[in-house]
Point group: C2
Chain length 353, copies 2
Amino acid sequence: MRREYTRPIRLKNLYIGGNNHIYIQSMCNIRTSKTDEVIAQIKALEAEGCEIIRVSVLDIDDAKAIKTIVENINIPLVADIHFDPRLAIESIKSGANAIRLNPGNIRNESDIKEIVELCKEYRIPIRIGVNGGSLPNRQIPTPEAMIEAATYHISILEKYDFHNIVLSLKSSDIDIATEAYRLASEKWDYPLHVGITEAGTLFSGTIKSSIGIARILDLGIGNTIRVSLTDDPIYEIRAAKEILNNLKLIKNVAILTSCPTCGRTQYNMIPIAQEIEAFLHKLKSNIHVAVMGCVVNGPGEARTADIGVAGGHGEALLFKHGEPIRKIKEEDIIPELEAEILKMIEQKKNEEE
Amino acid sequence: MRREYTRPIRLKNLYIGGNNHIYIQSMCNIRTSKTDEVIAQIKALEAEGCEIIRVSVLDIDDAKAIKTIVENINIPLVADIHFDPRLAIESIKSGANAIRLNPGNIRNESDIKEIVELCKEYRIPIRIGVNGGSLPNRQIPTPEAMIEAATYHISILEKYDFHNIVLSLKSSDIDIATEAYRLASEKWDYPLHVGITEAGTLFSGTIKSSIGIARILDLGIGNTIRVSLTDDPIYEIRAAKEILNNLKLIKNVAILTSCPTCGRTQYNMIPIAQEIEAFLHKLKSNIHVAVMGCVVNGPGEARTADIGVAGGHGEALLFKHGEPIRKIKEEDIIPELEAEILKMIEQKKNEEE
C-alpha cells in the first residue's frame, strides 16, 4: 500500500500517514532526566526542521521528566520504552504524545492491557519498532523474521482492538530493511516510520541512510523518517531534509549546486560553498543557489539555478538564471550573495501573493 | 543492457565494462601543469582506492605536463578537453591513457579525424561526457535532450569506425540523470561512467551523489563511478567506496556499524567511532566492526559484526560475533580495538589460505 493510502494516525497536532507529508524525526542523545539540556536540544532540533522527537526512558526519573519537557517544546514527543511497563505507564501519564514499545517484550498480560487502555484514554499511538538486531530468540535478521516479529507485536495490540499504530522495521543492512518495509507495506495499512539503524558516523552513516531511506521512499512508501547518525542529531535533521529534497518530497528547502572545482578554479571556493550552504539551511525557501568554480562553464551549467556566483581571479561573477549581473570582489562574495538571496526570496514571496 | 553485457574498453591496464568490477574515479582539482602537486594528489588518491584519475587540460602546458604525470603514477589518466583539438592531440602524444572529449564541440572535421586516428594509433578510448548543464543551443536538460546530444557525439566517432567509447550523462538532478542513463543503457553497448554533476559540498553533495549513483547502479547499469564533491577529492573516493559497499558491489571494504547514541550511552563514543572509521578506511578488508553505545543492547544488536565494543561507565566491553570477550579501559579502547581488528584480519587470511 502506497504511503498516501495508509491509515492516518494522530500524533499531538500532526497526522502521520494518509495524504500528509513525510515527517522528519530525530532522537535526543542526552539522558532524559536532564530536562534543561534535553529541552535545549529539542528546541535546536525544532529550529532546524525536526517535526517529531523521541527520548529514551531508562528509569522513572526519565519518565517523570517528560512532563516538564513537553510543556516546553512545540513538537510531539515519543517516549522510547523497553521491557518495563511501569516506565510506559509513567511516560503516558507525564504527557508523552506517543510511546515506542514492542508489546511482545512486556511479559505480563495485565500490564499490556493497562498500557493499551491508557493509550486509548490519552488518545496516543504506539509505535512498534522492530529492529533486525534484536529479534526474539536471537533470530537471524531476515526480512521475513522481522515481519514475523511485527506480526506478533501488532496482533497483541489488535487483540485489544487497538489500531493506533505506527510501525518501523529497521536494519543496519539496507537490502534487508528495504525488503522488510516492502513486505510490511503489502501486509498492513499502518503508517511506516523509516530508518536504517546503527548506520554509522556522520560520513558513512549519511551515505548508508541516504541510499537506504531513498530506496524505500522510492517504493512509494514511508510516512516518517529518521536518519540515525553517531553524531550531533542536528545532522540527522539536515541529512533528512537533503534526502527528501533530492526526492522532491519536501517543500521549502533550498538547493545548493556547486561544482567539484578543477584546475580552472581561481578562487577559494570550498569555504564559500560551505558557508552559503550553512546560510541556506536556516532559510525556509526552495531557492536554488549555485557556487561555481569558473566563469567559463559556471553560469551556463548552473542556469537552472535562481542565482549564483562563478569565480574568477580575485573576484566572482554574480548571475541569475544563467545571465551575468555584475562582478563582486572576492572578500564580498559571501555577504553580497547572501543579501541577493534574501532579496530574491522576498521578491518570490511578493510574486506569489 | 546490464553492465556485464557492455563492451569491454581497455584503459591502460584495466578493462571498463563487461564482467569487470565497477571502477572508482576522481579528478584532480589542481592546475595540471603543477606536476609535482598533481602527482602528489594522485598518489594520495591511489592510496585511498582511486582507480582512474582525470585531469583538466586548459592549455598546452597542461597537455605537456601529462608526460611527467603518467610516468609517476600507476593508475590510468584521462585528459579532459573542451573545444580545442590541439590540446587533445598534445595530450594523446604526452601519453594520456584516454581523453574525455565531446567531438561535436570540435568545429573542424579534419581535426576530429586527426584526433580519432591518433586514438586508434595509441589504442586509447574516448569518453564522451554529456553534461545536462551544457547541452548544444542551451537546450533545457531533459533526459531525451541528453540522449540526443550523446547520439550526435557518438555518431561522429562511429562514422570513423571508432567504437572505443565510454559514455557519461551527468546532471545535477538525480531524476534526469537516472532516466538519461537508463535510456543510454537501452540504446548502446558502450560502458557507462556514472556521476551526479555539481552535487554540492561534502555534506549535501555526498547525500545527492549517494542517492543518485545508487539509484542508477540499482538498475544494474554503470561500469565506473565518480562522486563529485566541492571538497578534497579524497572524500570522493571514500564516498564512492561506501556507496559501492552498501550496494555489495565492491570487495574488501570494511563496514562500521555504530549506533546513534542515546541517553543510555555512558562513554565518549562519537570520537571513538570516527577514529575507528578512519582506521578502517586504510585497511583492505571486508571486516565488519561495531562501536555501540551500551552493553544492554550493543553486543546483541551488533552480533552480525565480526568484532566490536559496547561502552559502559569508563570502560567498554569487547565482543566478537555478539559474544562478550573482555573489558577494556576507556583510554585503551582505540588501540586495543585496532589491535584486535588487525589480529582478526590476519586470522581470516590464514583461514582462507
